[in-house]
């Protein structure tokens, strides 16, 4: 047809852009997917229609979660009844709570304050108000500094981009 050159150039440009985008996404996700070894474990359980939390030291919380700024946490997320999704929109934490499975997601809160925890997977009657509160508290100075230095720099760069709002 005589059009092939311009078509191949166009497809080449599109493919090159996609490779660039895909590679940078892969690079970011590579960090986000592997929690730091010294992260503290928080067990998160969803059920119709509330969240319960259990800290490493056995302390349990219902509808509220208290974390310390600058400390990495791994959430072990599961459900007692139907699928839920554990979501802290401001910290870009999102992971499905599936009964019979334990899913992992980690976060290091980088600003103190009060955040929203909500359910993001349809789970029945009160799905829309299945919420909890996250309180991020200031660290005790000594432990806080050592924790921060353990995190790779690229992770700290990646976080603000997605936690912007």
């Amino acid at each position: 047809m005589g059009h092939s050159t311009v078509e191949w150039v166009y497809v080449g440009v599109v493919v090159a852009l996609l490779i660039y985008i895909g590679a940078s996404a892969w690079d970011v996700e590579r960090f986000l997917d592997h929690p730091p070894k010294d992260a503290k474990v928080v067990k998160v359980t969803g059920q119709q229609w509330f969240w319960t939390f259990e800290h490493e030291d056995g302390k349990k919380e219902l509808g509220e979660l208290h974390l310390v700024k600058g400390v990495p946490y791994v959430f072990e997320i599961t459900s007692r009844d139907v699928n839920h999704s554990f979501n802290i929109p401001d910290l870009t934490v999102l992971m499905d709570a599936v009964p019979g499975r334990i899913n992992h997601m980690w976060v290091m809160p980088d600003a103190s304050g009060e955040y929203l925890i909500q359910c993001r997977e349809y789970c029945g009657f009160s799905h829309y108000q299945m919420r909890a509160k996250l309180f991020v508290e200031e660290a005790i100075p000594v432990s806080g500094e050592t924790e921060v230095s353990n995190i790779p720099v690229s992770v700290q760069e990646a976080k603000p981009v997605i936690a912007n709002n």
Partner: protein, 508 residues
């Protein structure tokens, strides 16, 4: 083309006909009814969300979830699929120069299964969302609505498989011997690829529906964790059918755009071959990306990477279609009649939808957008933006050929602008809502200023869309009764040859 409505015929003659244009007309009418009643549900949902708190439009969350489920199921399986089948019925035999579909009776049976499925879905009004995810759907969803939904979808699935077999055989076996496949219209290619995809994709979910049903009866535990089953397995089976389904909806719309754009630009298609190639590539890579809906179900890094690559590999083929359309329009003498306006508007919205899709496919960004209103905005830009716009454009284009009368062009253009502005306001805004963290499928949201403002813009857009839809239906019904008789050789005055079959004998 055969005149369906102009020549007065008793209703039963159309209802019990097996002729392809009669069945096509029935499909089109049924799908438009579904579009309007499903749209009414959407207006109710948006109006309820105009302000935080309960507005009383929808009395309680339970009703809201039933409405939301019926809206989604109805729009996908009773508007998009039947409309594409209807236009296929109308045009495929004409385009491959055969007197009818390969199996006219099977064709009529496939159509008449559709209203039955529709009745089950609408009378039941299940509450587990169109995605019926276990364990909710097997443990908590109330019957008999859930069972009615399962059997309704089962019937609709069988109907699409029968229709798909009929299209494939008509195109490949009944095509006129003098007409090579590479000389047929791209709409024929679109229908062929869609039908093949239906045959490959639907059986998986058909099996999953049976498993879902026996799980609900309690005699099996495929997806019930308490009985050793895995809810995630359902999601894989579901999305293996319904991610390709996105292309099953979109490819006929793309085929229709290939019919309209060259005619209204008064230029031949820029590259027929790359159109065919992009259809074939889409039909294949459509099956490589299903689990990008499931990044947040606890997939490991390798799985996520594989499905991200699979998802991105569908982009070049879609981009090829867009390039082909723009290159066809480039330098053409374009006539922006209603059909062309709808297609170009759909093209603009397709661009936004595609760009949003590239964002979703990125693993880290998906955790920001997944299950939020972003996703609602994103896929509605596809189904409402690209697909429904191309369908409505094609409907206006076929209108004179079907009814023998011309629709009101001014009303058609006003309809287009109302829908274009309305749809943009609803769904582009919903992307932002998602970034603010509003989850999808919610009866209510937190009363903070950004959420309220964004929801209100979105709702006003829905009302504008409702006005456009009312005008659309008024125009179609009014013009088919009282419209000016159309010039059957060149109804759009663009100096184009439409179909040789204008002179075809009406019925065999």
């Amino acid at each position: 083309m055969v005149l369906e409505v102009k020549k007065p015929r008793p209703m039963w003659e159309i209802l019990f006909s097996t002729h392809h244009t009669d069945v096509g007309l029935l499909y089109i009418i049924l799908s438009l009814v579904a579009l309007m009643i499903g749209g009414a549900l959407a207006i109710a949902i948006r109006t309820e969300l105009f302000l935080p708190g309960n507005q009383g439009i929808i009395p309680d969350p339970n009703t809201f979830h039933r409405i939301m489920t019926t809206h989604g199921t109805n729009m996908l399986f009773l508007w998009l699929l039947p409309f594409a089948s209807g236009m296929g019925n109308y045009l495929i035999p004409i385009m491959v120069r055969y007197k009818d579909m390969a199996w006219p009776k099977l064709n009529a049976v496939a159509f008449w299964m559709t209203p039955m499925g529709m009745a089950l879905v609408w009378l039941g009004m299940a509450d587990f969302t169109w995605y019926a995810t276990p364990p909710y759907s097997i443990l908590r969803a109330p019957g008999p609505a859930a069972e009615m939904w399962i059997f309704g979808i089962k019937i609709l699935g069988i109907a699409s498989i029968l229709g798909a077999i009929n299209f494939i055989v008509t195109i490949l076996k009944m095509k006129h011997p003098d007409l090579p496949l590479m000389k047929t219209s791209l709409f024929v290619w679109a229908t062929l690829m869609t039908s093949i995809m239906i045959l490959v994709a639907i059986p998986t979910f058909a099996a999953a529906l049976i498993m879902l049903f026996t799980d609900r009866l309690g005699v099996s535990g495929f997806f019930n964790p308490a009985m050793g089953g895995d809810p995630i397995a359902y999601q894989h089976l579901f999305w293996f059918t319904f991610h390709p389904e996105v292309y099953i909806f979109a490819i006929p719309a793309i085929g229709m755009a290939y019919e309209l754009i060259p005619k209204f630009s008064r230029k031949p298609i820029f590259s027929y071959q790359s159109g065919v190639a992009a259809f074939i590539v889409l039909a294949i890579v459509g099956f490589t990306s299903w689990a990008h809906h499931m990044y947040a179900t606890g997939m490991n890094f390798t799985e996520k990477t594989v499905f991200m690559v699979g998802t991105l590999s569908a982009v070049p083929a879609s981009a090829m279609h867009v390039f082909n359309w723009i290159a066809t329009m480039w330098g053409g003498r374009i006539k922006f009649a209603t059909p062309m306006s709808f297609v170009v508007g759909g093209l603009v919205l397709f661009f936004y939808a595609g760009a949003g899709g590239v964002v979703n496919a990125q693993m880290p960004l998906d955790f920001l957008t997944h299950d939020s209103y972003w996703v609602v905005g994103h896929f509605h830009l596809f189904v409402m933006g690209l697909i429904t716009f191309a369908f409505l454009g094609f409907l206006h284009y076929m209108f004179p050929f079907i009814t023998g009368r011309m629709y009101n062009e001014k009303a058609g253009m006003v309809t287009f602008w109302l829908l274009f502005v309305g749809v943009s306001m609803i769904f582009l805004t919903q992307h932002v809502l998602g970034l603010y963290g509003q989850p999808r499928r919610v009866f209510d949201y937190i009363a903070v200023e950004p959420l309220i403002i964004m929801n209100q813009i979105s709702t006003v857009g829905a009302w504008i869309t409702a006005a456009g839809s009312a005008l659309l239906i008024g125009n179609l019904i009014g013009s088919s009764i009282k419209g000016k008789p159309a010039d059957m050789v060149d109804p759009f005055q663009i100096g184009q040859v439409y179909y040789d079959q204008t002179r075809k004998e009406p019925h065999h």
